[in-house]
């Protein structure tokens, strides 16, 4: 028995089992106590309320929603909204962060100064404060009648931003987006997996091209099938009376969340990207120059890929953390997951159940995201030991 305990793998597994078991016991005890306490107060517990109609509406939803729909559906709406907000703002935060990080290592004094000021300002002000600031600015934009016209296809007004859209169903857009993720995963597997290492590069390039072509074709087909009948494909906003018609309206609330999280996240990601560039040794750059590569080629082929690899684990943490930041939606009234749950708590009184759903939802999303990004990291990380430069 003692000998068994000394064996590392066995010991690790035993400890883990004990730990998970202990947690489960605590959870059961907690739930049972809460139940008896609630019943003593005459409150019903359980998840039956999820079937009930809410009786209240939401101001932004990616799927059809009416006041007669159930709590379950409203929670789903909130979750989708949070995911939507998260994906958009994390993409922008990444673009901003890479730009800021590059500015800070560019060697150009002016660019470095701008980058430094950006990071110091937006990293050091609380996110909530920034959200209020952007909300104030976005809601004081002119009325639709006097909206800023961007090339006649997009408009900026205090009632929201109006963008051109496609007259296709939401489902087809969603399916295309999922397709894009799958295509990316397959492509990453093809380019980095050992299984295809022996494949002729020519065939590899051809396969990669067919992956993207397949996705493009599938997306076109799905969009064509999802066409809303009797409408032009392009859906342009136009002013009618006091307001805009058609197009995609991005409400000031959603826009505030996107702007605030992108800018705040961009500052943090910028710092991470800068650290990544500093971690790339000068030797690789010099080797590139000695081979006759241009600064741009060295940047795109060598420094950027190495910098991203160096900070991938830090970036993953940052994304998990940024997703949690989507909960500022509640501060300006964007119906995100957190806000939907909090309104449901007020309306239904099922606090514990709803909080459990909230926590479960965030855990699921963040675990899934971290898991997926860790797979990406595994696929691209440097192979072998790097001690010899």
């Amino acid at each position: 028995m003692l000998a068994l305990l000394k064996q590392k793998s066995y010991r690790d597994r035993t400890l883990q089992t004990l730990f998970v078991g202990g947690l489960a016991v605590m959870l059961v005890i907690f739930v049972m106590t809460a139940r008896t306490n609630l019943e003593a107060q005459g409150m019903t517990s359980g998840f039956d309320f999820l079937e009930r109609a809410t009786g209240w509406g939401v101001s932004f939803s990616l799927i059809d929603f009416s006041t007669s729909d159930s709590y379950l559906k409203v929670i789903w709406v909130g979750l989708l909204n949070s995911l939507f907000l998260g994906v958009i703002s994390m993409s922008f935060a990444t673009i901003i962060g890479i730009a800021i990080g590059i500015m800070r290592v560019s060697g150009n004094k002016m660019a470095e100064l701008i980058g430094t000021i950006y990071v110091e300002v937006f990293r050091n002000l609380p996110l909530l404060l920034q959200a209020f600031f952007w909300y104030a600015i976005l809601t004081t934009l002119p009325k639709p009648r006097d909206a800023y016209d961007i090339g006649g296809i997009a408009f900026l007004s205090g009632r929201g931003v109006y963008l051109p859209g496609l007259n296709v169903s939401g489902l087809s857009v969603f399916l295309s987006a999922i397709g894009l993720v799958i295509a990316f995963a397959v492509w990453l597997n093809l380019t980095t997996s050992r299984r295809f290492a022996k494949m002729m590069p020519k065939e590899k390039t051809a396969r990669a091209r067919s992956i993207w072509l397949a996705w493009g074709f599938a997306a076109c087909v799905v969009m064509a099938m999802g066409r809303i009948p009797d409408t032009p494909l392009l859906n342009l906003p136009y002013l009618k009376g006091l307001n805009f018609r058609e197009g995609i309206r991005v409400s000031p609330e959603l826009l505030t969340c996107i702007v605030a999280i992108s800018i705040y996240g961009g500052a943090y990601i910028g710092e991470i990207v800068r650290a990544g560039f500093n971690a790339v040794s000068n030797g690789q750059k010099e080797a590139g120059f000695a081979l006759g590569l241009t600064p741009w080629q060295i940047f795109t082929r060598i420094r950027l890929p190495l910098a991203i690899r160096a900070v991938m684990p830090m970036l993953i943490n940052q994304y998990v953390w940024l997703f949690k930041a989507t909960t500022i939606g509640i501060a300006v009234g964007f119906v995100d997951f957190f806000m939907v749950i909090s309104t449901s708590i007020n309306q239904s009184g099922q606090t514990l159940e709803l909080i459990a759903i909230l926590m479960g939802g965030f855990l699921c999303i963040n675990y899934t995201m971290a898991f997926a990004l860790n797979r990406v990291n595994d696929a691209i990380k440097l192979k072998g030991t790097q001690a010899r430069g």
Partner: protein, 248 residues
């Protein structure tokens, strides 16, 4: 006028790092096909000198002419010279995110606009020459130091340079790996490549060098064919240096 037989011609060249005078009045004429070994104590400016030849460092005074192209602020000239010179570094400086083969074909494809399959064919030929064709699909981090340095040599050769610059290519290697790299360099020398090597491998210098150059304090102190250089050094600083590295 540049002698058409000159590979590298350096005249009255000075190099400063800020106010620090790193190279002083360098004059050097290296013929095509010539093999030069540069040695000297640490900090004497050996690396600085060969890094000036492909503009990894910029000189301030005098002129450097490589294969008839003047090394000045004209970017086209710098590109031209970098295409014609290959460089091997002490710490290999391979690109760790690319396989050995990708390391080798990157510059031929981007700079020489070579087609991929041709670049790969040439790269495999050169990897065979440095005796590691079987490692082509591995990543640098999966190879030993000696193997990595041979990849670095193959990578530089893939650009078909007329001149090869080596900056202490074996000094980061364990003793048992030094000879595998030196063998490759000796082979290259026998093929007639113009080579400028900073190294303290005196056996290598004796075997292949046409001329050994001794530097100290940013100056060329003495230059002579290896026999004369090792057996009958003229300058007392050379004698002291040789006494140190050969003495034990």
């Amino acid at each position: 006028m540049t002698n058409s037989q000159s590979a590298v011609r350096i005249s009255d060249m000075d190099k400063y790092y800020g106010t620090f005078h790193a190279l002083k009045g360098i004059n050097l004429d290296i013929a095509k096909g010539e093999k030069i070994v540069i040695c000297g104590p640490s900090g004497s400016g050996k690396s600085t000198l060969i890094r000036c030849i492909n503009r990894l460092e910029e000189h301030q005074v005098g002129s450097i002419n490589v294969l008839g192209t003047e090394l000045d602020d004209n970017l086209d000239n710098i590109d031209e010279i970098r295409r014609e010179t290959g460089m091997v570094f002490q710490h290999f400086n391979l690109f760790p995110h690319m396989t050995v083969l990708e390391n080798c074909i990157l510059a031929p494809m981007l700079v020489r606009k070579q087609e991929r399959h041709l670049a790969e064919r040439d790269a495999m030929e050169l990897l065979t020459k440095v005796k590691i064709p079987e490692q082509a699909e591995k990543y640098p981090g999966q190879l030993s130091g000696g193997q990595q340095q041979r990849v670095a040599i193959a990578r530089a050769l893939c650009m078909k340079p007329a001149i090869m610059l080596f900056d202490e290519p074996t000094s980061a290697l364990d003793p048992e790996m030094i000879s595998e790299v030196l063998d490759v360099m000796v082979g290259l020398a026998h093929e007639g490549m113009t080579m400028i090597c900073v190294t303290h491998e005196m056996g290598f210098a004796r075997q292949v060098a046409d001329r050994v150059i001794f530097m100290d304090g940013g100056e060329v102190i003495e230059q002579a064919p290896p026999d004369q250089f090792f057996d009958n050094p003229q300058h007392e600083r050379t004698q002291a240096f040789l006494g140190q590295i050969l003495g034990h």
